[in-house]
Every structure is written in structure tokens, then in C-alpha cells.
């Protein structure tokens, strides 16, 4: 979606403010929001693309005015409410009011280390051949789906070069909407700064994105 999260190339957001000796978390509630989000992935049954979409799928006015973990929290609330795991009334009350919906399993303390170490690999077996090879000239398609996509607006319509064939990976555009993993070949595509930003671009800069095959056409 062309939402508040698609920030590449926007102006007006002001200076970057690195914080000296920044702590990992800035408040107790951030730790809890972080851990709750990770812990709910297993009982909730959503995938990473669904949770990314849940975070970005809100008014850009809200997205840009919220802090990072506020966005996580809002995404988590949307996900659990949509699936009927928790009701708005329960969050309001701060207590469970209804019988819990049964879930397959929850993340136990003993499984945390193992689960984190395993992560969520997205590479899949395939018997198709990649359409492009390193060195090929490609153009990012001009697509504007209202749902989740990993193709940022600022590269759409622009031509670049295939730098790397990464492998066949779960396609987030499908996975985020519950339409299945639909694995597709994934490439690293390199763009020239001037190609993306015109005469205002830095001639000595190049920008790479990882793009799934459905995002690309021969240039």
C-alpha cells in the first residue's frame, strides 16, 4: 500500500537525531509491547507479512505521529481483534471478559531460545528457473496495490540491473493477505541514484532493493 510507511524519498521529516548511548528500550511498556508481539505470533497464527501489513495499514496521519512501539502495539491489537482472540471491550476493561478462543499452542519460556534461533526462514524449494540473471536490465513495474507490497514507490517505473539472484522466497504480497506463500524468485536490483532522483540525485550513489520476480519486467 502507498501508506505512511513508504517513506523513501520524502522530504520534511527533519534531521536525524542519533541518541548517545541509546538504551535498547526507552520505557518499561516498550519492553512489554515488544515481547507481547513476539509471543503472540505463535498462538495468533499470523505470519510476518500479515503483521507488517497490520502495522502499516492505518491512516498516515496516525502512522507518522506514533512512536515505533506504539505502531507495533496498534498492529498487535488489530491482529488479535480481527481474529476474535480479544475484544475491544476486554482491552477497555483491562481484563479478560470472554472465554478464550482455543489456540494450537503458545510460546513457552523453554522454547524461546530455540524459536528465536530458528527464526522464520522464507526460502522455498522450486522447480522453476529464474527469469533473470545477474547483469540483466530490468524495470520495476508501476504497481500500486492497496495491500502489502515490498516494492517501494520510489523505484517503480525505474530501470536497474540485476545484481544477485537470491533464491525463491515466500511472496509477501500474497502471504500478507492470506492468499498463500506463493514463492517467487527474489533478486537484488541495483539502481543508479540519478535514475531514481533525476538531476537532484547524487551521481555517486547507487541504491539496491530486493525485488520479487512479479515486481520486475525486462528493460
Amino acid at each position: 500500500m502507498n501508506g505512511g510507511q513508504d517513506l523513501g524519498g520524502m522530504h520534511g521529516h527533519g534531521p536525524i537525531e542519533p541518541e548517545a548511548n541509546e538504551p535498547v528500550f526507552h520505557a518499561e511498556w516498550e519492553k512489554r509491547a515488544f515481547a507481547l508481539t513476539l509471543a503472540m505470533g505463535m498462538p495468533g497464527g499470523w505470519n510476518i507479512d500479515m503483521s507488517r501489513f497490520a502495522r502499516e495499514n492505518r491512516s498516515p496521519a496516525d502512522y507518522l505521529a506514533m512512536s515505533y512501539y506504539q505502531i507495533w502495539l496498534a498492529g498487535l491489537i488489530d491482529l488479535i481483534e480481527e481474529r476474535g482472540l480479544v475484544g475491544e471491550d476486554e482491552i477497555e476493561a483491562g481484563h479478560s471478559l470472554h472465554t478464550p478462543k482455543p489456540v494450537k499452542r503458545i510460546l513457552s519460556p523453554a522454547d524461546v531460545a530455540k524459536t528465536l534461533h530458528r527464526g522464520g526462514p522464507t526460502e522455498r524449494e522450486t522447480n522453476t528457473a529464474p527469469a533473470f540473471k545477474p547483469g540483466d536490465r530490468v524495470r520495476a513495474k508501476n504497481i500500486n496495490p492497496p495491500t502489502h507490497t515490498r516494492l517501494p514507490r520510489y523505484v517503480r517505473g525505474h530501470a536497474g540491473t540485476i545484481e544477485r539472484v537470491i533464491g525463491c522466497h515466500v511472496f509477501p504480497d500474497s502471504n500478507a493477505t492470506g492468499a498463500g506463500e506463493n514463492p517467487q524468485w527474489l533478486y537484488t536490483v541495483r539502481f543508479d541514484g540519478r535514475e531514481l532522483w533525476g538531476p537532484d540525485g547524487d551521481p555517486a550513489s547507487e541504491i539496491s532493493v530486493d525485488a520479487w520476480e512479479p515486481y520486475l519486467e525486462p528493460a
Binding site: 510507511q5 517513506l7 523513501g8 524519498g9 520524502m10 522530504h11 521529516h13 527533519g14 534531521p15 536525524i16 537525531e17 542519533p18 541518541e19 541509546e22 535498547v24 528500550f25 520505557a27 519492553k31 509491547a33 515488544f34 513476539l38 509471543a39 503472540m40 502499516e56 515505533y68 506504539q70 502495539l73 498487535l76 488479535i80 480479544v86 477497555e92 483491562g94 481484563h95 479478560s96 478464550p100 503458545i106 510460546l107 519460556p109 522454547d111 524461546v112 524459536t115 528465536l116 534461533h117 530458528r118 527464526g119 515490498r150 516494492l151 537470491i166 522466497h169 527474489l186 541495483r190 532522483w197 547524487d202 555517486a204 550513489s205 547507487e206 541504491i207 539496491s208 532493493v209 530486493d210
Partner: protein, 209 residues
Amino acid sequence: MSGHDHDHDHEHSELSETQLRVRALETVLTEKGYVDPATLDILIETYEKKVGPRNGARVVARAWADPAYRARLLKDATPAIGEIGYAGRQGEHIVALENTPKLHNMVVCTLCSCYPWPVLGLPPVWYKSAPYRSRAVSDPRGVLADFGVRLPADTNIRIWDSTAEIRYLVLPMRPAGTEGWSEEKLADLVTRDSMIGTGLPKSPKDLAK
């Protein structure tokens, strides 16, 4: 334009409101048995105390000290990093990017906050902020200037917009005057920002300070 009026005074009340919301959520989810409170504590401890840029620094230091390891890292970083014992969530496919005198690499995620957790831990606030995410792809030199880094005009800058499952780790250049240093000592020179590309490693002189 004008720099006035950019403060957001609603942040305070929002914080306490969010605090209450998180507490409510945790209570509800715990009462329903969806989460185990001990699990939450372990998750927090893992990312607050155990996983952090020190991991990445060890990877970089080994690559500086051991040419064979360097070659393995640049060829396929995921198993090379696994050798040292780092792997997993938000780092399932890692690619190492080699800085050279002619090429400087910098990593951003314009769409969200993709970051190599197993080697760098959780990203700092600025990495997730709109100013960094918006400008890193279109004005990398300006961004580097914000970090106090000035590169020669003829150094090429490569921006990696981490839009997918690949997580990038920048392998900075080994500082001069560190010949014969141990891996452990070298790791002390490797800053978090040097592995994102918004900084350079410390020099032996910096370390002495």
C-alpha cells in the same frame, strides 16, 4: 523552512495512555492463557542483554583477522555468521557488504525497520525514524553528514534498502595501525553504526581516549 513549532506536546499524555493500554493487553492475554509471563521476561532479557552489536563486532573482527573467514563471510554470510553461533529471527538470510576505499555501503529499510537482529540486536530509534528512512535513499551524503561522517567526493555510496528477507551487515574497513591486534581487541573498534554504514570504526587513538 522555519524550524518553529515542531514540538509535539501531546507525546506525554500519549505515553501514559500507551502504558495503560499495554498493561491492559498483557493482563488480558495472560488471563486468557495466550502468553506466559515468563516467556515475556525471557524475550525481553534476550534482546535487552544478550543480543546486541557486540555480536556483529565479533564477526567483523574475525573477518579482519582471518582472510579465509572474510572470504567465507563475503561469499555467504549466513553460515559464516552461524559458525560464531549467531543465527535466527530477523537474520535468516544475511549478506555482508564490504567497504573499500572506493565504496561505502549503508543500510536502511524505507518500508519498515528490517535490521539484522542476530548480529546487531534491536535497531536504534533513529534507524526506525521517518527522517532516516525518508532521506537515506535520496540524500545519503546529507545523512552521513548528520552522523558527522564525510566521505571523499569520489567515494561511491551504495544504499541497500532492505525491503525483503535479506538482512545486511556492513563490513567496515579495518582501521590503520591495528596490525597484529587480537580479534578481541579489534572488536572493541567496531561500532554499531559502522556496521549499518552510518559510521566508521574507531581508530586506535579513539580507543585510547
